[in-house]
Symmetry: C2
Subunit: 422 residues, 2 copies
């Protein structure tokens, strides 16, 4: 395919080989051994093409954005500039949390192409591991690390306001991807929309109830405004369990093409909300060999530990940097331990409630909106699937509407357990 | 003075004449009659040089930003790029509310120079009118117009999110001016700071009490975060009574060099807070001919009418545009009159509380921070001045800390009256 005027051309495998041969950084990554390259297209996401490239002396992944939503087609155009913001976020988050973000080897802006570390087997997408019922004992530890470090160090708790506004301006350029989130998370699920789908007819009444739930819609409007207006930190923007690759001892966060300066709670909530979805899907995966009861407990423990560890690590980073150059709380003003404690308690409580609100909104959209999750989709018995989905939906609505009443993650888990009880 | 490498040179009167002669837009504005120009430097603000240029067939004002804070000197540098953002805001707000914003004739970015309409006598700075005890019967009507139109049409109630983020990014460039506000409004008054001053020794204990008021400081932190993070609308950013010129039938908002996408309440609060300062200063201006009691009632009425008219006009604009392209509340979702009412009530209540918080913070900083107001400064009897200032300070602290309890502007005015009662 010939290059467009802007230098872009979508690569197929043959063209990719030529591209690699012509790109010194990629040749070097392969140890200059370009014979016998194995190339495999593995993009199972909604948006991009992803190739694994492996040679005898090195490997990497090539991710190329195309100018439309892959799972819908050219009828839903989407800027390929998202690759630029993905590369920026990978580099920024990678520098803050190198253990949990794949290294970027090469970025080509006209081609919307990123070359990055190949996450070798046994890395799999976390969502698939959750469906398979695999425990990841370090997941909460790793994800709380990632969340605490990426969010703290890109917030005004660490940034001076000048550098913050400069970074905010740069990521305002990713507005088109933000707009997609605004539509599919905060708008479409609450109205009749072309691409909405759900397990029908089982959930028809539930979907209608959402569209008629005034309290829910008022709360969602508040979350949407916060998403659109509040530049709190550089967030991943799409931190569900399909954006995380895992082994028993490695956790890698990928695909930050939705990254921008937004509310921290959106990332925390995305991860926790998708774990709750995984929890509610387990009954659909239970069989006579494995009733998944132990696994469900592990998921709940992981939710609890993730928030509690995040809280601890985030506040620790704050304490270590209280007299740093962050400008939200100047140490000359917030100058006593008891005042610092009060300030932190208020901040963390608000953040907790934001995370619950956004997490619940992300749950709802995965059941009644355009993009569903394999956790439920892989339950072939529709009645069983609908039953799992309905409980998740009820749980999400409760959390979203009542979020300000929760003081601890344990209380949230109690609600999850109550709703899941037969 | 020779031009710097960036094309900037500070103009004196002689250089200004040469500049005008060489600039077609300015020559045209003077009807090409360049003989006998009267030029007067009138900049009494803290930051810039301002010249009135009048010829036999036309006139204008030239405002030139210099790269430091004029009232402090070169020891406090400040980007002259502020003139660029001022010109942008004048044009944007001017297009939305032409009756209350002076027309821009010419902008020269390298020179940081704006030529705009000369607001001819009897226009005076509103603050001077308030000190003189002059009633402006249309002030509430005009300012509620300005606030409703400039804030509504630059918010997500009218903007699509793409255009909003694009505009937000542009104004992130004005970060240095935002930073000045952050320092002098939200930080310095609450700590020991070099340029802080107050009527001493009278208010020494009051200043100390502010630095020791944990509740106040926690609330101020929340306001500061909102100022730094929330891109709600294109705000003027410095809308005190010194940024407004008036006659009995004209109200003109000038000097938006602090403009950026920030919280709407900051503008509304700046105006209302400065009216409350004017109110508390009246006892210091009373004499045997005029006890100012009637005038104080007029100020309170103006505060009440400004908010109530703003509320009415803002909601009216919202209703007129509910099915427009604003993306905060899609009409397909917020699809019933009673739901729209609920949404608006919540929005306006939050905005009211934001305005009270920011207004109170602006009052405090004018009494204990670097930049004071002539309302108080012109009270030569220090004891009398301190007494006025202390009441204003107590009022501001109460409003700031208790703002969420207020449901109507009348309730706020009751607090003002109680605190002002002898």
């Amino acid at each position: 395919m010939a290059a467009a005027a802007d230098g872009f051309r979508a690569l197929d495998e043959a063209a990719l080989v030529e591209y690699i041969k012509a790109t010194p950084a990629l040749r070097a990554q392969l140890g200059e051994q370009l014979e016998g390259l194995a190339i495999e297209e593995v993009g199972d996401g909604n948006l991009n093409f992803v190739y694994i490239v492996a040679g005898p002396a090195g490997s990497f992944v090539i991710k190329q954005a195309i100018p439309y939503v892959r799972c819908i087609g050219t009828s839903w155009p989407l800027t390929k500039e998202r690759a630029y913001f993905e590369s920026l976020a990978l580099k920024e988050h990678g520098s803050l949390c190198p253990n949990h973000v794949p290294q970027v080897y090469h970025f080509d802006r006209p081609m919307s192409l990123i070359a990055m570390r190949y996450l070798e087997p046994p890395h799999i997408i976390l969502r698939k591991g959750l469906i398979a019922g695999i425990e990841y004992p370090l997941l909460a530890q790793h994800m709380s690390d990632f969340l605490a470090r990426t969010l703290f160090f890109t917030s005004l708790l660490y940034h001076a306001t000048l550098e913050h506004r400069h970074a905010v301006a740069e990521f305002c350029g990713n507005a088109e991807l933000c707009r997609l989130t605004e539509q599919v998370v905060f708008s479409d699920p609450y109205k009749v929309a072309q691409y909405n789908r759900w397990t029908s007819p089982h959930l028809d009444h539930d979907v209608e109830a959402i569209r008629d739930d005034d309290i829910l819609k008022i709360e969602v409007a508040e979350l949407k405004s916060m998403f659109c207006e509040r530049a709190q930190a550089l967030i991943h923007g799409d931190l569900h369990t399909g954006s995380i690759m895992v082994t028993s001892d490695s956790t890698q966060v990928i695909d930050p093409e939705f990254a921008f300066y937004g509310p921290m709670g959106f990332d925390i909530g995305a991860f926790l909300g998708n774990l709750i979805l995984a929890f509610f899907s387990q009954d659909g995966h239970a069989d006579k060999d494995n009733d998944r009861m132990v696994y469900k407990q592990w998921i709940l423990r992981t939710i609890e530990e993730t928030w509690n560890l995040f809280h601890h690590k985030f506040v620790s980073l704050w304490n270590e940097n209280f007299d740093g150059h962050g400008e939200a709380y100047l140490v000359d003003i917030y100058n006593k331990p008891e005042l610092q404690l009060l300030v932190q308690k208020k901040y963390m409580t608000n953040l907790f409630h934001d995370a619950l609100g956004f997490g619940a909104a992300k749950m709802i959209r995965r059941i009644v909106g355009v993009a569903h999750v394999e956790d439920f989709e892989s339950i072939s018995d529709e009645t069983k699937r609908a039953s799992c989905e309905r409980r998740a939906l009820d749980c999400a609505k409760t959390i979203l509407k009542e979020r300000r009443k929760f003081e601890t993650i344990r209380q949230v888990i109690s609600v999850v357990q109550e709703i899941s009880a037969p």
